[in-house]
């Protein structure tokens, strides 16, 4: 029987997946296994972590060591695992709510410490699993289940947030640019230090129906495309003109010492 050659990276007894038709999180799963395949990533050495939410399910489908189910606490798990076994590749799959709301402080501290993990933020701009409520990433003026007259709150720019906090690799792409996203994921996985890749994804079921005005996944992807800017395009616009737009690109790529515990005690000297 012919199967997709990438299927060997998936956990058979977790399939079929639970994503809605046209969900962007499933595309991110696809991008990740393509990136892993191109890097020849050893899945025996991979720990994939998800919290709670739609994107948090991605590790459940990966045939690696997978952790799933504590909302917003992916980074505390990752911190412990990295301190226990620094040689492991730890990849976090997080929704925008998991990363920016429930686990917001963990995100800032992990970036500050330059924890050596890869964090993939699947940003669908809403709390999709619970019915499409407003999230800290939801644009102003947008309708959600809990902002039926339009969102009044100012959204987070997660990339700017972690950049300011000290992340050493920061990148944002969308489901419109598979190759760019895969390229950024490959760099992020190989990067030594805190690497965050935000991928803007369509949520046809909730964000699409309420905010975009269509449950059609294509309309969701088109909406993201219309509101996307390259960093160069954005440079020519005022702050006001950039509101409600996704600025895309690889923003940060630098080296810095990685987190190896808080104490000055040197184990190699202690031995």
């Amino acid at each position: 029987m012919n199967t997709n050659p990438l299927r060997r990276y998936l956990r058979e007894n977790s399939l079929p997946h639970f994503f809605c038709s046209g969900c962007g999180a499933a595309q991110v799963l696809n991008y990740f296994i393509q990136a892993a395949d191109e890097l020849d990533l050893d899945f025996d050495n991979l720990v994939a972590i998800g919290g709670v939410g739609c994107a948090a399910r991605i590790p459940v489908y990966l045939h690696a060591e997978s952790l799933h189910g504590v909302h917003g606490r992916t980074l505390p798990w990752a911190t412990g695992i990295k301190l226990h076994k620094p040689e492991l590749d730890v990849v976090i799959f997080s929704g925008d709510g998991d990363a920016g709301a429930i686990g917001g402080n963990h995100l800032i501290q992990a970036a500050r410490r330059n924890l050596d993990v890869t964090m993939i933020v699947v940003n669908n701009l809403t709390f999709a699993m619970t019915g499409g409520q407003v999230a800290p990433t939801t644009f102003q003026g947008v309708n959600t289940a809990t902002t039926p007259y339009g969102n009044l709150e100012q959204p987070f720019d997660l990339c700017k947030l972690v950049e300011t906090a000290g992340a050493t690799f920061v990148s944002r792409w969308t489901t419109n640019q598979p190759r760019r996203a895969i390229g950024a994921l490959k760099k992020a996985i190989r990067h030594k230090g805190f690497a965050l890749v935000e991928i803007i994804t369509q949520c046809p079921t909730y964000f699409g129906r309420r905010a975009v005005g269509s449950g059609d996944p294509v309309a969701g992807v088109e909406w993201i495309k219309e509101n996307s800017l390259t960093a160069r395009q954005a440079a020519n616009l005022t702050e006001e003109e950039r509101v409600g737009r996704f600025v895309l690109g690889n923003f940060v790529e630098k080296e810095a010492s990685v987190f190896a515990g808080s104490s000055l005690y040197n184990y190699s000297e202690g031995e």
Binding site: N45, E65, S66
Partner: protein
Amino acid sequence: MPDFGDGYRILHSLNPHDEMGSIHWDPDVFEDLYDRITGKIINNVDDIVKTERFFLDDAEVGLIAYGSECRPAREAAELARAQDIKAGLLKLDTVWPVPERQIADLAEQCSLILAVEMNIGKYAGEIERVIGGRCQVKRVTKNRGLVHTPGEILDAIGEAIA
């Protein structure tokens, strides 16, 4: 349990899952999972529960306390004994699972039990439930952010037996 990176590629999920780790929102899976998890407590109550008995061998008045209240309660029992009141203390090191056997045994032995707490009586209801009317239970509570003094508990014993 194997360590991360040992190559077993285990799925650790907090959702209802079967023996293989696969997530299933199935009532049978859910029930089996929770029977196993709750069974860790229910089937091992005697190993988990810890209590300490002070002056209880011949006690007729039993004090039950936990936490900081145990010290003044123990001293109150000593002061009561100096007045020929046979008092003792059951100190609960474990409050949950409830030390039902230990509390019930005390009810068989004592004619009066005092539930001593530094709140409006959070645990007294549990004690009353376990004793189920087998002996008299009085609540000795103090909700002022301060522990009882031994004298206050001694007074409460005096009032209860008067």
